[in-house]
Amino acid sequence: MSIPLAQHTAPLLLIQRRMPWALIGLLALAFIGVPLWGNDYWLNAILIPFLVLSLAGLGLNLLTGYTGQTSVGAAGFMAVGAFATYGFLLRLPELGLPVALLGGGVISALVGLLFGLPSSRIKGFYLMVTTLAAQFFLEWLFVKFPWFYNYGSSGTISAPRLALFGHDLNTPLGRYLLTLVTVLLLTWTAINLVRTQVGRNWMAIRDMDTAAAVVGIPVVRYKRLAFAVSSFYLGIAGALWAFAYLGTASASSFDINRSFQILFIIIIGGMGSIAGNFVGAAFISLLPIFLSHAGQALFGGSVDAGQLQNLQKIIFGVLIIVFLIKEPEGLIRLLHNLRDRVRQWPLRF
């Protein structure tokens, strides 16, 4: 028996290829504009953390947004990545930065796989709690065993010289470019994944896992794969967070609040969307800074900074709920609508 092939085998494309000017513009800005005009404040305090958080969001989104396995242990896996990368750089310096980063990611992926094992038996909240277990266990691990932080008195690991092929990356710009390139590479692979069979299988599992099994998708294997890949991304994000951004980190840099922060990024940005992570990260990392600047600008510091922070907390909470109610697909969906509207406005008249 044979499946009929397309009569006219014209090469058909999945997506209508239009020149993605917006994307090109953004990349140009990131690679040319920022290095030209970006100052330390923008690089160190805004752009680098934004990029790393986007990557972390991407990692969690693969698991939660695409495969439908909610995790609140994201930060735990970031910690694994950070400490593993540190270990490689410290004990096997000859590996060099890229390999060490990769290694950190791989270790984190293995740990993710380990904590993903229950996903074969457990679903929903129960599974979510196993990710919480991971969170707390890993935090404890990296406080408890000094080997992980080279017996420093304070339990913190600090970035060894970041160098790539002899180039010193310890300038803000260097660290920015390192982060940017890493994030772009991983984003590209993520896009490949979600656009091919693997991604389809994940989404199938998310939408209805019984049916997925019936059509021949190895559900358990793909759930675990999702855990591993997600942790890989989170691990590298963690390493960048520790070394490219903070410059130093301890277990407490990856506490449960970080996990929630990343969860919020994907809720606000958009579940099951790649670009959404960037939008969400931008939003979540810019809003507080904006509020505090606004506070300073409006009241010249005369207002109690505390109240401003409480207000910010409330705003976040409200936004999350509003998004869940009104736009479960997050900011990215809004942006799409906006774009479509812009596209067609000439026709309106």
Partner: protein, 446 residues
């Protein structure tokens, strides 16, 4: 409803737009000295923060309004909320490091361990000295490896030593320590683990039994730990908890019948906020502190007259005047001011930059005479820093909680810093090695 979303979206865009141009409104000018205030008024530690900033701001006001600035150089300050986190701490630092409208930064106080660690290397690059009073890298005491880090007055190592010295005092001599049991109940975190090393060393030297019992964060259930304490039945307990774990510890201790007047809290377990929630159980509790509570030191009289009574105080609740945290604010501010003053002696009566501020710190020498002029006698210890020694001091006083107030029950108790210095050099050397740094040599006039 969609509209509201659109609005929030527009808001975000607006944020982006304004961010670049949002220059905080605070009139500063290049002839002024900028004192950045990285504060935390929310989050788990807010209750203490609020008083610390009040103390700092009141003293800075006092310097400006009463003493006309430091040798005529007016101070200008601005707050930035860190929520006691590293990332916000970095954001604030980056925002402040270039000064404010031309008013330069001479010294920077990260106010929070995570930020302190995150900034220690950036500060070195930017040549801005970090003052971390009662927290931060202990090994940074070695100024040859950490030229821009100043863990002044009391590192956790010195704290451990002062504790042992105090206990020896109470027991009647170091020889009496032999065979005694000292249990340390510590918050299981980087902060809590700092004293493991020194106590081990001290235990070997004085022959007391060193029992270590960790409390996992946040520590709101400690029956297991105190059951262990009860089983070990130590003579003294060194309580190195913080935040909520302190009152819980004190209460649980009472529940297990351990005498509270043999529990000695560490510097982060030495405030009213730490003991008030424990109520009656805390009566008789002891605590080590480099900035004892009390409102009748000379400086308080001055502040009361010129700041509080004029209604210029930053305190929301005046009953906190003279609280441990308020006083810690005073001491922190004083260290910064005196460092600048010292620097001005060399570089002239003008605002200083970080490099000059560091010189000031390394040549800081606050003796009793100076303390007397400042009005800090008894509130603050002698502090002499140098290129090799970025801690100075190394003393603490012991105060006791009577259920409503702290009463000082000891003079300044000095740590045996000579004994611990090798440990510190070891750590700093290891750090230098890991980083491939070559320690600078101290010629005496850097």
């Amino acid at each position: 409803m969609r509209a509201s979303l659109k609005r929030s979206l527009v808001g975000a865009a607006f944020a982006l737009a304004t961010l670049a141009g949002a220059v905080p409104q605070a009139m500063a000018s290049p002839d002024q000295q900028f004192i950045p205030l990285a504060t935390y008024r929310v989050g788990a530690y807010a209750s203490s923060g609020v008083q610390v900033w009040a103390g700092m701001i009141d003293y800075l006001r006092y310097i400006n309004e009463v003493e006309g600035g430091i040798n005529g150089v007016k101070l200008v300050w601005q707050e930035c909320e860190t929520e006691w986190t590293a990332e916000k701490g970095i954001e604030c630092y980056e925002r402040f490091k270039h000064g404010l409208d031309g008013a330069p930064v001479a010294v920077y106080q990260p106010n929070g361990a995570p930020a302190a660690y995150a900034l220690s290397e950036r500060a070195e690059v930017d040549k801005i000295p970090l003052i971390t009073l009662g927290y931060g890298r202990t090994e940074a005491t070695d100024g040859t490896v950490f030229p821009y880090n100043f863990p002044v007055m009391l590192t956790f190592y010195s704290e451990a030593s002062t504790l042992v010295n105090y206990i020896a005092q109470r027991e009647g001599g170091f020889d009496k320590l032999k065979g005694k049991k000292i249990a340390t109940v510590y918050h299981d975190s980087a902060y809590g683990r700092e004293t493991l090393g020194p106590l081990k060393l001290l235990a070997e030297k004085y022959g007391f039994e060193n029992i270590q019992i960790p409390v996992a964060d946040p520590g709101n259930e400690q029956s297991a730990q105190w059951r262990q304490v009860r089983q070990a039945n130590p003579d003294w307990v060194f309580l190195r908890t913080w935040g909520v774990s302190t009152p819980v510890a004190v209460k649980t201790a009472a529940r297990f019948g351990f005498p509270v007047d043999h529990i000695i809290g560490d510097i982060w377990a030495s405030s009213s906020e730490d003991v008030l929630p424990a109520g009656a159980a805390a009566k008789g509790y002891l605590a080590l502190t480099p900035y004892p509570a009390g409102a009748d030191f000379e400086i308080h009289k001055r502040l009361k007259q010129y700041i509080l009574d004029k209604g210029h105080s930053d305190l929301k609740d005046l009953k906190n005047f003279g609280s441990v945290y308020y006083n810690s604010g005073l001491v922190n501010a004083a260290v910064a001011v005196e460092a600048i003053r010292t620097g001005q002696a060399k570089f002239g009566k003008r605002p200083l930059n970080g490099e000059e501020g560091r010189w000031g710190l390394e040549h800081l020498n606050i003796d009793d005479a100076r303390l007397k002029d400042m009005g800090y006698l008894g509130l603050m210890q002698n502090l002499k820093l140098s290129c090799r020694d970025h801690e100075g001091g190394g003393s603490a006083r012991v105060q006791q909680w009577d259920g409503a107030n702290w009463t000082l029950i000891s003079e300044w108790i000095a740590a045996d810093r000579g004994l611990l210095r090798p440990l510190i050099d070891e750590k700093s050397a290891a750090f230098a090695k890991e980083k491939g740094l070559t320690p600078r040599t101290c010629t005496g006039d850097e």
